[in-house]
Amino acid sequence: MIYWQLLWSMIQIGLLSIGGGYVAIPLIQEQIVTLHGWLSLTEFTDIITIAEMTPGPIALNAATFVGMRMAGIPGALIATLGCILAPCIIVLLLAKLYYKYRNLNAIQYILSGLRPAVVAMIASAGVSIVMLAFFTKGVLPHTLHDVRFLSIGIFALGLFALKRWKVSPLLVMGGSGLIGLVVYLVIGVGGY
């Protein structure tokens, strides 16, 4: 039955995707394209593009999309549920442990080692996002043609607004999208 297969596939994806959304992509591909043939490779690439363009975790977006294509709204619900089931149980256990034992010296030592590591992971993601925003190919460019000056301008304005006026990140993101749209409508440059 398609629902069970879908659920089981998603549980495996949820359980195995340790270490960030991009780890999940090959896992999803393995389950959805290679193993079950539910989607073609082109459709799968489309899903990843859409998942990146829309808010929310990539794995959840992809799961919803596959579920929807396979079995409509119940499929989307089941796929989402499957995707978060195992992680939720594990994190719930970890949350219990964290709040119970976080005052122990040993746990404090461990956490003091993890905090700077997490900052570095966020920084790494941040640099990747900045590179993607600034340069068309996401790497340091060889020609000025690959530099997105509009994005650099929006970035500078956004960072200034965050630092100086302490505006909400949501406002910066919404405002940036609006600037992108207005600039496109007026002079026809911009784009993702």
Binding site: G56, I110, G113, L114, S124, G126
Partner: protein
Amino acid sequence: MGELFLSTLKISAFTFGGGYVIVPLMRKRFVEELNWIDEQEMLDLISVSQSAPGPLAVNAALMVGYRMAGIPGALLAVLGTALPPLLIISVLSFFYRQFRDNAYVSAVMGGMQAGVAAVISNVVLDLGNGVLKSKNLLSIAVMAGVFVAVYFFRVNIFWVILLCALLGLVGGMFRARGTKAAGPKEEEE
């Protein structure tokens, strides 16, 4: 509870560009606006979320929900996080090709990407400064080392977490031993 649900709903609806984008959004909402947790605890929640499988946004929301209202809070926070992508993708799945190829959508996304970059850079600058100001050499070394390992060598985060947990444990025990001679003393963190 309502606040929790609406906050996670809103944060999830704006998490463009990967899981870590929730960090600045969570910090603004839960640390600065609602004062539910402090920055250290937020980093702890992210660490714990990262040690488990699954989407960071879901895991981190669950941790905050659990902290505020136990298991019902955790479930509510997960629902709030899962709902926006579920709704948006379900609707989009009918005309995703048009959506993807639409020039206006693309223009908005292009601008938004730059905004997301500013938002995450802002939080990285603040958090990074915090680590540097702690003047804790081990922390600074861990931050630099992990950045190189993750950004340049794409080391899986699972191994990074394991190693840093060990480093923190050994480093902490080492320091505790050094201060024991001078009598029981508070930890510096």
